[in-house]
Symmetry: C2
Subunit: 145 residues, 2 copies
Amino acid sequence: MFKSILAAFDGSEGSEAALRKAIELANLCGADLTVLTLYRHHSVLEGSMYVTDVEQPDNIDGIMRNHAKKIAEHGATVARQAGCEKIRAFVKGGPTARTIVSFSKQHENDLVVLGSRGLGSIEGYLLGSVSHKVTSLSECPVLVV
Amino acid sequence: MFKSILAAFDGSEGSEAALRKAIELANLCGADLTVLTLYRHHSVLEGSMYVTDVEQPDNIDGIMRNHAKKIAEHGATVARQAGCEKIRAFVKGGPTARTIVSFSKQHENDLVVLGSRGLGSIEGYLLGSVSHKVTSLSECPVLVV
């Protein structure tokens, strides 16, 4: 019934539970699965990041991106180990909910799966508001795990 | 993967789209499907209901319940026609989101499916806030269609 599933994955326990549901559904439907990990652009975070990384402010986007990449790769590994065959992993910078929604629209996903709340390891805020925004803005069904 | 699916159904176009996804998933997983239609108790609505039905204020709960029953039966018929075998329909009075969540917990549903917003034909308010509340409060995954 679903052909192309997008799992938003931030490495938190909640988003891994969501990823596992997405994998089960992808396997059941023979759907392709995309793991998407978001990071916030430097400009959004500059206030706090300058404090923690004053030596290399120009490289903050790169650091965030690399961290997100590792998380996305972990998500893809989890999916492969669970028998998922058609899997891709992406990282994207931008505001979380809107980026998930625009990515899913662009890639014609017919289901978005995400955790009800994350640890906010990347975004620094509760994913709860993200799931609310995504369910409000998404043009396709959203599974909140 | 899902064994017992609860579809919240208020007769609106959005909730019928949600019901159809719930049916597809139930058929795919061999899950049982419960159609749940909510009505609000008299006391919650008395302000507006006395205006529209001054002649029989004591019977308002009954009227609401019967209306909800017809909607639930329509939902069950849609499901049966779509090949769903294990189907039950319920009506419940109470605050919508909390009643959906407590019902799903009591009946050990492992997925709740609902529309992102309804026409509010029964509740008189946008179902949008209901889906937010249900995703926040539910102990099981929630599919917002």
